[in-house]
Symmetry: C3
Subunit: 430 residues, 3 copies
């Protein structure tokens, strides 16, 4: 995974344009993406697909002609979507267009101005301090052209048309956790899914943040609302510091149950953020009123919570193969748990005869049954055709991991019948 | 307000008769009341409108002809609804008909005997102690006549036929907080309402306690049950000591939400009483099974909780202009909050583009959005067409006061759609 | 009761056979049981009625011909359902078939092997220790024959066809609390019920554990699911140490409300066990998914919680007349409370005129109404046609015992209307 991550890192991405196309093209080497191009000017709910931003060069030269800020050195140096500029300005005026992080003096901040015309440079505070009075030549060789918004999609079919929906962003330039890690983990998850026997169908999309999810929603809303039973946004999922998730608006979906359970069994620190306090990625759109998709965002160190976030320091000292692997396992376990989850119903009225099947000690001495026997009996006692795996886990106080082998055995012995849970949907806009 | 209060104070009121009529007549100088007269003997649920009680004089004279208890000095001296008496009795026998408060030796208690024939005098314990043995002449020049029960009503129309119902009592004689304060505040609220542009229609009634509300209910039940979405009983609402309310039976109505929110923002001490422990005024009838109106009682110092309650000490040392003004503001804020409350729905699917409307910082640096921006985003995120102002307040943990300007702005920008909440009614007697 | 208990004690019972028949025959001297015989081989859900087990003798003789273990001395000595054996074995091999309780060296354990062919002896650990090396003659003169499973039933009719269902076990050999106490208390409850005027119909069954309840369910399921509004399993209900109950699976049935309320008013220690942790008798079958009968198990010292449980020490040093009487009272109070429970509705809208009925102090001085008056007013305020006795108790915070006389008085005065509560049934297997 780290190899793919390192190949994706240097590409200069923005919400539209060639950076996105190159990114999708690289990912296509691993999985067969379907690529969509949505023309500039296309309306999507409250939004419009913007023009493509092309940037060829960007620098600030001092009076000796030396590039003191150089886009070619680090693509974070130019505020994303900066309009073209070619002028000479005194330092005092230039400063209005310089962005630094005084608290992190060696970090170049990441800034964008997608929806208002502007220009600017980002640089480390140390570099900014070293600029001397004088006149600087400023050039941003950029252009806005009619083009399109690009996104990729892969459908991995399962037995059922009900879907698990996974979404990740491909619009951030050279930062590793936010957001090389999301597409990398999503790519390997897609590749893994293709080798599984699946109950649900999986829809994985690689989109630019906000405008991409809005556009995607506007083109697929009815289908998504009909089929999606659970979904995950993957973001900042490649570091080694912790595991976290952002709950859905009311914290009550199947995605929430799955993520909460899996999160709790991850090693190390873990954090569950509420939607109210923790949201910030595309879950804001997928879970918005009228869309109401049951989404949870899965992260290792969540956006906004680690010091390198949205700076040039978010590099491969933050993201590691181990970190990506943990992220991959986290998502994989969520999927496995959803695939496993069923509603259960005892086949027989009355406690079945476990003894004749060798599932009970046959000489009765009821002082102390083993935990496995209690698990069997408890699952059967509460398998009422309405409780699913998570309900049984909550009722019995036992982790799903412990109940699953017990349930599998009871199903195998013909004592338990499994059926697919039906996700209750919130009322939508229709 | 204190002027009206002082004019109303001396009138000798009872549950029927001229005291009530004079009271309504005085109030009519401020607002145009419709007056109803319900004949004695009229049945109302479990009750019957009693005869009118006329009292011309009442005294106890000592053997030297000196009035030691004199109704003309204070109308609390005669137990309300005392039957006529004209006799000479020794002190020992008289004492069976004297009521004092040993714990408050200088207070004349307020007593009534509406529904059982009886007679008696109330006096301060100090006065009672000073009575010497001997024979006393006792006279109560009273009479029970067929007449009517009188009440007043004012309807202030709004855009909708759904109603806010306000009720207050006019049957207490010369006590200031209980119950000159209620009618005074209700009068000024009515006057204020007439100058507002209103969504709801307001029904304000001035009635004698219990029999008045029962009679009113019996004549208007169907209409009230159909139209009333919230309601308030005003009682003991003119002192400066605290603010309080008595919740509805299950504490879950719109009136409860409104009163709880407004109460919490009042200055000084505040108390929220449960219906179980705190009720005692006409909410007992309006909220009774079968009527089930969503009523909350608004008080400053609630009946039964302040030392001067139901004694001659409940005068203008307790009730002040400031106290009445606070009571008026309390009710007014409740009304304003009901008028303001709507169910909200985000207009667009997905988070709308706040930036293009100047509602978002346009250069994205997501480390720390301001509270106003979070309020905007949170309101939009939870405006799902089912949550009203109170739900949004509860979800976001922000007081309604802070959310209202944010909501107004979002409505103005076309991002939020407001609709009137529909109060879920409890099943009635039909 | 202790007399019946002592007559039942010596009988050698098992899940089928003459021990059960003799037990039912003895009980029939007290109440008129209907006896059912279900042939061996009959299928019932996941189970089959086993063959009858006949045992004539069982012993282990030492090399001098002395019976060192003798079934005729205590019927616990032979593992129930042991197959016939007649052989000589060395002590080392015999030991594989000897069961003792090292922690209770003087207790003979109770063991069964109903559903797997086996044989064995139970004896005190002290006796086992004293066995010397050598060869022992082992004889179990038992036989499995086609016969039948026997159970008894009595229906005590009430006004309504809705039923209260009581079940107790008759399959344990000579142990007093588990399970002579259950049938004894059930017998006297039946006898008492026949002398009451009853609203509900009472169905009391005397069955062998597990197979008996399964067979009974399989033959009566539809009727039980239609009619049973509450039910109790009686077990271990004759000692003096404490009172306890095992809740239904979700703890929310009428049976739970009744048992919880009665339990709380019993003297001494009391324990409420959850279904998850505490179940172990036939409630496991009655409350199983698909049957879903609203059952609570009533015990004094619950099975598995007292040291003499399932040993020869469970005798009349554990079970006493006083203990049985307490158990009887416990069950009786549960029945009385169910018989008493109604849904209440205030007859009049508005608080009724209590004064004219002498139910209120007639001279109003509202500083402090008595508790009885508050109980009256509170019951009327919340008697909304949906709350039953238990709801009113919960709302007012008053025990049902205190509310019942108040309610009775209000009903008598025509102020309250009572109707039978309808138990909401869980969805079944149909």
């Amino acid at each position: 995974m780290i190899e793919l991550a390192k190949r994706l890192f240097p590409i200069n991405r923005s919400i539209t344009g060639d950076g996105v196309r190159q990114t999708l093209s690289l990912i296509s080497e691993y999985i067969s993406l379907k690529i969509f191009e949505i023309p500039s000017g296309t309306k999507a709910f409250d939004w419009v697909v913007p023009k493509e931003w092309i940037i060829r060069d960007g620098y600030v030269k001092d009076d000796r002609g030396k590039r003191v800020i150089d886009y070619k050195e680090n693509n974070l140096h130019v505020v994303s979507y900066s309009k073209p500029v070619d002028m000479a300005v005194p330092l005092s005026k230039l400063k209005n267009h310089l962005h630094t992080l005084p608290d992190q003096p060696d970090a170049i901040p990441y800034m964008t101005s997608y929806y208002q015309e502007n220009w600017g440079f980002c640089l480390s505070d140390l570099s900014a301090q070293s600029l001397k009075d004088g006149t600087y030549k400023v050039l941003i060789d950029s252009e806005f052209v009619d083009g399109s918004l690009t996104y990729g999609e892969i459908l991995v079919p399962g037995e059922r048309e009900e879907e698990i929906f996974i979404s990740t962003d491909i619009c951030h330039p050279s930062m590793a956790n936010n957001e090389i890690s999301g597409p990398v983990v999503a790519t390997f998850i897609a590749e893994w899914l293709k080798r599984q026997h699946l109950t649900y169908t999986y829809r994985i999309i690689f989109i630019p943040e906000t405008i991409g999810s809005i556009v995607y929603l506007s083109r697929n809303l009815e289908k998504l609302r009909k089929n999606v039973v659970a979904g995950f946004v993957l973001s900042c999922i490649g570091d080694e510091r912790c595991y976290s998730c952002v709950a859905s608006p009311y914290g009550d979906t199947l995605s929430d149950k799955v993520a909460t359970e899996v999160l709790s069994s991850r090693p190390g620190k873990k954090f569950r953020y509420s939607y109210l306090d923790g949201r910030g990625s595309d879950e804001r759109h997928y879970s918005s009123p009228g869309a109401d998709l049951p989404m949870v965002t899965l992260c290792r160190s969540k956006f906004g919570t680690y010091p390198e976030y949205h700076t040039s320091l978010d590099d491969f000292s933050v993201v590691t193969e181990n970190g990506l692997l943990g992220g991959f396992e986290y998502v994989k376990e969520c999927i496995e748990l959803i695939e496993k989850n069923r509603i259960y119903k005892s086949v027989y009225i009355g406690e079945p005869n476990l003894g004749k099947r060798g599932l009970y000690q046959t000489i009765t001495k009821e002082k102390g049954l083993g935990q496995t026997l209690w698990d069997r009996k408890n699952v059967l006692a509460y398998a009422n055709g309405q409780n699913d795996l998570f309900d049984l886990s909550k009722i019995t106080g036992r982790p799903t991991k412990k109940l699953i082998p017990v349930i599998d055995e009871l199903v195998e012995y013909g004592l338990l019948r499994a059926s697919l849970p039906m996700e209750k949907k919130r009322p939508g806009n229709e």
